[in-house]
Symmetry: C2
């Protein structure tokens, strides 16, 4: 412990001297928010540092390597797998990117933004909106740009715009190689094939291959016309059939196709005061899909509504009713219902989140199988799933109700294991669709990653980050 305390003191002295300010502070002084886990619970750290420039990040990494300090890079600390949550009260130092948040610069002709890692998604979008553009990653949280990249975030508009990887043109990273080497891949190029694309490695790297300091992101024209509707399917298969019909008919005017279970919608209606029940009868159906179509100045609400009707008509033409109900509604109100679900579930009890994905045609079968399996093994649990039908993503989220008995230790892990085994082994799916890998799902990473992939990932981590950083060991 004395060794660690003196290492930490040396680390602080070096950084403070070099920056000319009280840069390294005790974690208690920084605030509790920097050790909190967005999924509940709390971590521990010894200290906190928030460098103001790439050069300072490099200094911090160099000094940490010299002093044997483990740095935990952290953006807005909104991640859901605890990759940015420190654990060691004596040796971990939170490396916050919050001070690297200069106003993003927008290149209108190139449709791109040059952004520092600590800039929030909402800030980027507010600046981009002034130029009629947007960075179309649509999430309930408001992460920083560095965190978005380290998690390869995606969200509710993947169907139309893709994930962060798809929208990343350039990247600057400081390596945890003992020297704080800066990798500059900041060219704002849409096409660039000049060797192994090293920046791809840092997308979804959970802060454990280096520190992302800046990026060039692709922007898109801000939609000016939006139409949204809730579809109530008459049968499970109708959901994917409607998706396929809409893609063919509406093309990229289709910007979201989100599934919601009745239980999840009911929770949002009951527990989040700003949400009103959109269903006229007052009864929430077993399942519904939030469809959004949007476009620019060349688009009209009338045409988007017609496209929706036209696509659904091709389904009905098979002779039987496939979509029992279509409710056109105010997009903001329908999205409020969708986005209220995570919060509503937290109010209902303890949430067991399972962020899985499968090929789109398998979604209905996977859902049926999971619901059956969980009902048998864990009758107390409420199944409140929702997610992204358009990209095969399913938040198979479960709630352990406040009214139920206290779960035995390990119950939640056992539930998740049961779910992931079915997803991965029976359906060839993924145990993490869009939240990435961190301490919260490290055991599943080890369990479901092949031995060659583990070995290669370990050797890449050794090559890029021999001084170690962050909380993930990609060797398992």
């Amino acid at each position: 412990m004395i060794g660690r305390a003196s290492d930490l003191a040396r680390f602080k002295r070096c950084i403070d001297d070099a920056t000319g300010r009280n840069a390294v502070i005790a974690i208690a002084q920084a605030g509790a928010a920097y050790v909190e886990d967005a999924r509940g619970g709390c971590g521990h750290a010894a200290a906190f540092v928030a460098p103001r420039s790439t050069e300072e990040v490099s200094l911090v990494l160099r000094t940490a390597a010299e002093c044997g300090i483990r740095l935990i890079p952290q953006g807005a600390n909104t991640g859901l797998v605890a990759a940015g949550v420190p654990e060691d009260a004596t040796a971990d130092v939170v490396l916050s990117l919050r001070a690297m948040n200069r106003r993003p610069s927008i290149d209108v002709a190139n449709r791109s933004a040059c952004v520092e890692a600590g800039v929030r998604l909402s800030t980027l979008n507010s600046v981009a909106a002034d130029a009629g553009l947007c960075f179309p990653i649509d999430l309930a949280a408001d992460p920083s740009v560095g965190g978005l990249i380290a998690a390869n975030a995606a969200g509710a508009k993947f169907l139309r715009y893709g994930d962060v990887r798809r929208n990343l043109l350039g990247l600057e990273v400081v390596l945890a190689d003992g020297h704080g080497t800066v990798l500059d891949f900041m060219k704002p190029l849409w096409k660039n094939n000049t060797g192994i694309d090293l920046k791809q490695l840092f997308v979804g790297s959970s802060g454990s291959l280096g520190v992302i300091t800046r990026a060039v992101l692709a922007l898109h024209p801000l939609p000016t016309v939006t139409v949204a509707a809730l579809l109530v399917p008459a049968d499970h298969d109708a959901v994917v059939d409607a998706l396929v019909a809409l893609e063919r008919c509406a093309g990229d005017a289709l910007t979201a196709f989100e599934g919601m279970s009745g239980v999840a919608m009911q929770a949002a209606v009951d527990l989040v005061s700003s949400v009103r029940n959109p269903f006229e009868s007052g009864d929430v159906p077993e399942f519904a899909v939030l469809v959004e179509l949007s476009g620019g100045p060349g688009e009209s609400e009338t045409r988007l509504t017609e496209l929706l009707a036209q696509a659904l008509a091709t389904l009905e033409s098979h002779g039987r009713t496939r979509i029992a109900d279509v409710l056109l509604g105010d997009p903001a109100r329908l999205w409020a219902l969708r986005h209220a679900i995570p919060d509503a579930l937290r109010r209902r009890g303890r949430v067991i989140g399972c962020d899985v994905s499968v090929s789109r045609g398998q979604l209905a079968a996977l859902r049926t199988r999971l619901i059956e399996a969980v009902r048998v093994t864990w009758p107390e649990v409420e199944i409140c799933d929702f997610g992204h039908v358009g990209d095969g993503g399913l938040h198979f989220n479960l709630v352990w109700p406040r009214s139920a008995r206290e779960p035995a230790t390990g119950t939640f892990d056992a539930i998740r294991t049961q779910v992931f085994e079915i997803v991965v082994k029976e359906f060839g799916g993924a145990f993490s669709a869009e939240h990435g890998v961190g301490p919260r799902n490290a055991a599943y990473y080890r369990r479901f990653t092949g031995s060659t992939a583990l070995r290669l990932s370990a050797s890449i981590q050794r090559a890029l980050a021999p001084a170690r950083i962050g909380r993930v060991d990609f060797g398992g």
Copy 2:
């Protein structure tokens, strides 16, 4: 030489025994096409093998490592940087994927295709079209799927559909690790964030990190309505202004925005018999843009034409004429003009290809600077550039006319060096936008890649391919 001959004999014996057929044949017996370079010239090899399955590819890699044979993976041999062209007549063996070409299987609900590496782009698209889908990489050549991935091909519809990387869901690779280890990342998932995404490393790997054997590719609805036009800009800046206006107004209905110099168009009109001059006056303008808008069954030609007019009207409203002429035309005929350019240039003389990219707003300035520089230094050369304004790509292709003096040795390299120096150093662009890295531009790879990137790329190559394969040394 005797050592090599006996190594080769042992290699042949092992493979032939294990496969039960005459699998390894002399290169002369296989045919001249397998040593040809698509840009002209010819390579050399000792032998040829075309495995029929992933297991056979693994056997070939294992045996090659044992016998000290260098394998050169090759798809349809249409690459433009010679990455698949063998060079050593005594030791190189062409590993052709041509026999791995089973009919692709299409998953309509998931909008994806499972494809073997040897399947041609045209075959994939023909099978996908039966399901109303397409793989929208639009090229003049007809490469194999493995080659498309190893080059991260992109082409003329990048603006709307992106490159191969953006459309790659799954990948199977056999490693050159001495064991022929098979990496199976074939899950057909749109969202999958379960660790370092190793498959990204093989995209643009030029066949030098392993052998791509299968892939899962994203498909898109086949457009059913297309409108195309030639725009003649009144000034250079009008080109990018028109692009931005069209993106805002038409969104993803805009599927291509291709620039063509007058010299390139004139060559196509003069030298390719199937191409007719689309300009009514008969005079080819200094520069024109081929614009394409397209959509599905919910779209109409009338609306697409209106979108084009509406977008161009926003430009004109600034008070002066920005677009001097708009010629609506048969899309097939206009594309024929665009796609005839490479062939026309080859008929005109020896082509010096420079596949560069820059941020879109810099394209006009780069073009002006390059034209000036080349005209001064190499007055004999004809500047016949064309390319992808929509993604900042410029094929700054030059022709050494048949009528000019024979160029001194090293002239073409000197010209390319001059062009690339301006692109990279003055404009922050890339020396290879979409053709990738191979022997043809290895010197520029070394010249323009930073020392840390070279070192990290070398360590990744050592980790994935310790037994070496292909023609590119990523360590420079």
